[in-house]
Amino acid sequence: MSWHQTPIALMAKALAAKEVSSMELTQYFLSRIEAEKRWNAYLDVNAHLSLEQANKADALIAAGKGTRLTGIPLAHKDVFVTRGWKSTAASKILENYQSPFDATVVANLGMPSEENPHGAGMVCLGKTNMDEFAMGSSNENSAFGPVLNPWNRQYVSGGSSGGSAAAVAAGLAPIATGSDTGGSIRQPSAFCGITGIKPSYGRVSRYGMIAYASSLDQAGPMGKTAEDCALLLTAMSSHDPRDSTSLADSGEDYSRFLNKPWQDSSTNAAKPLEGLRVGLPKEFFAEGLAQDVANAVNTAAKALADLGATLVEVTLPKTKLSIPVYYVLAPAEASSNLSRFDGVRYGHRANEYKDLGDMYQKSRTEGFGAEVRRRILIGTYVLCHGYYDAYYLQAQKIRRIIAADFQAAFNQCDVILGPVAPDVAWRLGEKSKDPVQMYLEDIYTLSTNLAGLPAMSVPCGFNANDLPIGMQLIGNYFSEARLLQVAHQYQQASDWHLRQASEVA
């Protein structure tokens, strides 16, 4: 059985029918991870711990105490702290760091216990590679080397959740967690040909998710299908009293609309999306978009229309400004969040120093990589007296305009459709010399984080070099279940999400 090509929705059925055990599934994926190290998708694997969890999962299933996801293996992005596995955020400053606790996401999905009674019972396969502290769009900023794209190993996996995307695409995990501050779930999902969703801000707890930019960070699932993402998101999201921005009304069944028509009253089975208005923002199809990406997204729009949806043009006039706004706000928040790394309580400490101040300075300089240092410098500058109003406050005011522009668009449509990124994956090293050039690649994903809206990436084609293309669906606040419904209906009528990279046997 090719379990690495099996969506978790089917894996759950096989486990329930006792056709396979969690031990067998876990062993299967651990063997693949061992044999496929070339992608550099994982930073830490511990077979003993994984098999111990699988054993517990099998006992739960045998006792009839499992949830729908009990026994299914998954990978966690290394931004989530875990007991047992190292938690490094792909930074030298946290190399070998062992967390004393599990992130809420890890606990929600992990083994149930007395202190964690609602754990879904999934088995952790290990921690996936990422851009250091989630800062990057290609996974080349990892202190432990880049992740290679399973569709072509000369190309980047995308970032920052590149390890999770490559692990799913290469069949090294059935599904994985990711985090998205400016596109870090959606862009690597698009580059690796998988499906991923960033929920509305506040849906998923940030407790134990190593902070980059706290008002933008949001965790979400990355998997093979929209249905799989809906199942994982349902188990991931919860109200968490330990995260002050966690929403009180977070828990819901995100798969409840998957197999329903858009309108309850609809009776035409061939047109399940009848009544759905899909908005195409003209700024997302303007100059700078690669022609083959534009073609694939336009074809997907037609496919949605064939399913009954109506296409309307909308406008998001401040799209271009989301780049400067993001690259002021995210570094500002990062410079504050990363001030905790001082070499005192945990993390790297320099070997030689004169005094306490020198110890801070040397430990931080040695521990942080070039992009992280650059963003700390930018953030410190924009928060300085004399620049604060012109940069930081001005960015927060434009952030309000960007959020309002989305509401104006949602007066005319129910979901917004566009590309995830201006182009497919680029060659390793192609953009790493010029940080600004890399920042410009985030143009279509940043605005949803600034506004806090849910958005997802869905495979919709390939370019001439056989590299995957993703389309982006953006919904209004708390409409995740509806977004997943649209994506699921599209995936019932297309097979882009089922294609396998030729190098992945």
């Binding site: 070998n96 062992q98 004393p100 606790f101 801000y201 506040g202 008002s215 009293p241 002050s244 921005t245 401040k318 400004l321 780049i323 400067p324 706004v325 002021v328 410079s335 001030s339 005192v344 309580r345 945990y346 993390g347 400490r349 120093y353 005094d355 306490l356 101040g357 110890m359 300075q361 040397k362 931080r364 300089t365 240092r373 650059r374 700390i376 410098l377 930018i378 410190t380 500058y381 300085c384 012109a390 940069y391 406050l393 001005q394 927060q396 005011k397 434009i398 952030r399 309000r400 305009i401 959020a403 309002a404 940080p435 600004v436 920042y439 984080n449 506004a451 806090g452 809206l453 606040y477």
Partner: protein, 97 residues
């Protein structure tokens, strides 16, 4: 932004940059700030800054909890990644002579 600014913000950030590193990072930061300058053309008079996306939608009450001890003692686990420790305390260089 000038070279002096780079050294000043590096110091505020508790990062060390030698002359060559500062000279290398300066044009990169200048490029970022020329991008950021595009924001200045936007008229934002009368607008409140938006610090948290959900505040765009609705007012949020500051979540509070009952003022009681809810955590058990995790001192040993919390100390396990300390770079230097003694008798359950974090060790740092002498700060008071």
């Amino acid at each position: 932004m000038k070279l002096d600014d780079v050294q000043r913000i590096a110091h505020l950030s508790r990062l060390e940059l030698n002359q060559a590193e500062a000279e290398a990072v300066l044009p990169q930061l200048q490029a970022v700030f020329s991008l950021v300058e595009e924001m200045q053309a936007v008229d934002t008079s009368g607008l409140e800054p938006l610090a948290h996306p959900i505040l765009f939608l609705r007012e949020l009450a500051q979540p509070l909890r009952v003022d009681q001890v809810s955590e058990s003692d995790h001192r040993i686990e919390n100390m396990q990644s300390a770079p230097a420790q003694q008798d359950g305390y974090f060790l740092v260089p002498r700060v008071i002579e």
